[in-house]
């Protein structure tokens, strides 16, 4: 399946776009989203950390992702 991933902050600079489409096997998890990102863009390894939000919630790496989910890369936050 093809999933769309949105990027903010330094993640947008790393992928040089505000969204990217990833080709993942059915029944993938957040872990596989992260692996794909790091493989395509090794600069993600240089971050202090990065999380993935699915449908506006932080989720575990083992959480499933499916087509149509709003999947967002959350680099280290620095608000406040």
């Amino acid at each position: 399946m093809e999933i769309k991933v949105l990027a903010f902050g330094i993640a947008r600079d790393i992928i040089k776009a505000s969204e990217i489409k990833l080709e993942l096997s059915e029944q993938s998890t957040v872990d596989e989203v992260k692996d794909s990102l790091v493989k395509l863009y090794p600069d993600f390894n240089s971050l202090r950390n990065f999380a993935i939000a699915v449908n506006c919630e932080y989720v575990e790496d083992s959480a499933p992702v499916k087509q149509g989910d709003e999947i967002v890369i959350i680099p280290p936050v620095s608000g406040g």
Binding site: I10, L47, I74, V77, G80
Partner: protein
């Protein structure tokens, strides 16, 4: 009981936030105001850009407000956060809370800003004359 959460691209008003939580049944009203500082030592910052993943930022700030009510019996909570272009000294965030007793006002307000800085998807970039950097992105 009221919660007021706003992400806005225009200057924040402490007066507005305080008015939203004032209540003569509440003996404690605490406010935290976060001002933009120069975070990168030794390089003069020209300005900053704050970017938010808006729907989730609002949702995470609402969660914080609900926790303030659940854990400290906060009566009214107001959290306003700036986005967009900010200069040094501009106000980036205001958290105002009213509670029956003042100890709860301080404790819940401090919890709110500590948690906001860890969980709310907002990012700031410092822009220098000769470059820019996303704050806190790297180890």
């Amino acid at each position: 009981m009221a919660i007021d959460i706003q992400l806005k691209a225009t200057p924040l008003s402490s007066d507005e936030c305080i008015k939203k939580v004032q209540d003569h049944h509440c003996g404690g009203l605490a406010v935290f105001i976060g001002t933009v500082r120069n975070q990168t030592q030794g390089r003069p910052v020209d300005h900053l850009e704050f970017e938010a993943y808006e729907p989730m930022a609002v949702k995470e700030m609402s969660k914080i407000a609900e926790q303030m009510m659940d854990r400290w019996n906060a009566k009214h909570v107001c959290i306003h956060h700036r986005t967009g272009h900010l200069a040094l000294g501009d106000v980036a965030v205001i958290i105002a809370v009213s509670t029956a007793h003042r100890a709860e006002a301080f404790a819940s307000c401090q919890y709110a800003i500590d948690t906001l800085k860890q969980t709310v998807p907002i990012w700031k970039k410092e822009i220098f004359e000769d470059g820019e950097v996303w704050v806190a992105a790297h180890p």
